[in-house]
């Protein structure tokens, strides 16, 4: 019984010790290749302010890239983008799925997409006005999120 408790304590300490090293600063060329390609294509690698690797214990690795103009991009462990937050500027048009773009220009003309995030199940989009929209994984409009 005593040895079991000791073993558990040991594991707990190692885990927390590891947790303290959750965030690591990287250089751009240390990102997974798809991420680097993405930044190169839609943004400019020279505008990268800093890169952080986030490794929490119970979720997979995440990469957070901040650009000098305030834009923040998040990538998953494989280097695919999960979120782009442009503050008040529009995100690059090319990365927004077509039907999402069409819907926004039809229902909310004069509105730009200033933030977009995606998961395996859905897309979430924030417009200039502040309205949040939700789309399914194929880009079909689901609902206004408010």
């Amino acid at each position: 019984m005593k040895s079991i408790i000791k073993g558990l304590l040991f594991v707990a300490v190692t885990l927390t010790a590891n947790g303290a090293q959750a965030q690591k600063v990287l250089k751009v060329n240390q990102l997974p290749q798809p991420a680097q390609n993405f930044i190169q294509k839609h943004f400019d690698a020279r505008n990268v302010s800093h890169v952080i690797e986030d490794d929490e214990f119970f979720s997979s690795k995440e990469y957070k890239v901040a650009l000098s103009d305030g834009t923040e991009i998040e990538f998953d462990s494989k280097g695919n983008w999960t979120e782009i937050d442009s503050d008040l500027q529009p995100v690059p048009q090319a990365i927004v799925p077509n039907n999402i773009r069409q819907y926004v220009s039809k229902s909310f003309p004069n509105n730009q997409i200033v933030q977009i995030s995606r998961s395996s199940r859905k897309y979430e989009v924030e417009l200039t006005s502040g309205i949040d929209l939700e789309f399914d994984s194929k880009g079909n409009f689901k609902r206004i999120d408010d």
Partner: protein
């Protein structure tokens, strides 16, 4: 303190119902209120989308909407850099000039950004007078429903139990009427409640068992008495023979005489027990018109010697004939027992007063003692003063006769130093 089953169950029912329905009603009301306001909020949120769309379409829209107008919204500039696009709802009483009173409103406070990122505060409001009315009416309805349900449950419980317990009441009444020795006096009651039917069956069986045992006991007593008679008679006759021996001395003779006296007492006792058992078995069934007055006179003649020995003053008041449909032997036993007692327990030179009328016979004797207790004197083997001659069964036989043949009653009273036994007709 024992209460009726109805009250007992009602108590628990009432508390449970009051508590449960109260909780339910409150929950129900809360849920509905939530739904109502959800509805209102959704409406306000839809309005927000439309307003923002219009703001993007029409550049002058924002400028024209800085106060609550017909459309019940307003757009105000916000501080730069302020985050405005969160939704908050709250209720507020707003003074309406055209109604001249405060009315309830629900207000959505939110905001949006223009194309160039300028933040604006947006307030949209709607009147909730109708909804509030609805909620008040709902509350009243729930209260009424609650009261109705509670009262109904109590009433129904009361009525149903009254009906269900009816056979039980009948069983109880039947049990009250049951007399040991008469198995027919308990009438079984059929009912639609299984438990009461079972109760019925068990009671009937129990009564049958008891009656059987009782019958066995009676037969046993009778048989025992019968059997006793023969050996007693044999012993007494042997003693008689012995006492006729010429060569006996005084001492032996007197001891034999005492023994014979004791045996004779035993014979008397045995006969009385047999009489008692026959009375209770209702073996005196033959009835006829019996004239008690005639019987009394006959008995007085038979007992004349005893009356004279004690120098009793005999007073007889005859105001008519006491005639009744009865068993002649029993009448004789009844009267002779009472008369014998009146003589035996009288004082020397005391008064023996007999009065007869068509519906009443009184036999009274003077006494030096105090009043007797009617609760005890009729019991078997109760003897007031220790009298070796009395077997204690006389009055017990009298009571047994009047209990089993109810057309004549006996009662005891003590008047002016006299024990009075009264026989009355009981039609």
């Amino acid at each position: 303190m024992a209460v009726s089953l109805k009250t007992y169950t009602n108590r628990y029912l009432v508390v449970a119902i009051l508590a449960i329905i109260a909780i339910w009603a409150l929950l129900f009301y809360a849920v509905l209120m939530d739904e109502v306001y959800d509805n209102i909020d959704d409406g306000l949120k839809n309005q927000k989308i439309e307003i923002i769309r219009e703001a993007y379409d029409d550049p002058e829209f924002i400028g024209n909407s800085h106060s609550f107008g017909i459309n019940q919204f307003r757009i105000l500039p916000a501080d730069p850099g302020e985050t405005v696009d969160n939704n908050t709802f709250h209720n507020e009483l707003v003074y309406m000039p055209y109604d001249e009173e405060d009315e309830p409103y629900r207000i959505l406070t939110t905001g949006f950004y223009t194309k160039n990122g300028t933040p604006y505060k947006l307030e949209i409001r709607t009147s909730t007078v109708e909804e509030d009315d609805f909620l008040i009416n709902l509350a009243i309805s729930l209260a009424v429903l609650y009261a109705v349900i509670a009262i109904s449950v109590i009433l129904i419980n009361y009525l149903v139990l009254t009906r269900a317990l009816r056979p039980f009441r009948r069983i109880l009444t039947g049990l009250g009427k049951y007399r040991f020795g008469t198995s027919k006096s308990f009438q079984p009651v059929s009912s639609s409640v299984r438990e009461f039917d079972d109760l019925n069956t068990h009671i009937v069986h129990m009564i049958q068992r008891n009656e059987q045992i009782f019958a066995q006991q009676k037969r046993f007593i009778e048989n025992a008495s019968h059997e006793l008679q023969t050996p007693l008679a044999v012993t007494i006759s042997k003693l008689d023979l012995m006492m006729e021996e010429p060569a006996l001395d005084e001492g032996t003779l007197s001891r034999l005489a005492e023994a014979k006296r004791a045996l004779l007492r035993l014979v008397g006792l045995n006969k009385s027990l047999l009489t008692l058992s026959r009375i209770e078995n209702k073996q005196y069934l033959q009835n006829e018109e019996v004239n008690f007055t005639l019987l009394l006179n006959q008995l007085l003649q038979d007992y004349q010697d005893f009356i004279e020995i004690k120098s009793l003053q005999l007073q007889v008041d005859l105001n008519g004939d006491f005639v009744i449909w009865y068993n002649a032997d029993l009448a004789l036993i009844l009267l002779s027992n009472l008369l014998r007692n009146a003589i035996r327990y009288n004082q020397e030179g005391g008064l023996l007063h007999i009065s007869v009328s068509p519906d009443k016979i009184e036999i009274a004797n003077s006494s030096s003692g105090e009043a007797l207790n009617p609760a005890y004197i009729f019991n078997r083997f109760h003897k007031g003063t220790q009298d070796s001659q009395s077997n204690g069964l006389g009055l017990s036989i009298v009571r047994s006769i009047t209990e089993n043949y109810e057309s004549v009653d006996v009662a005891y009273s003590f008047k002016t130093d006299q024990h009075v036994f009264t026989l009355r007709k009981n039609i």
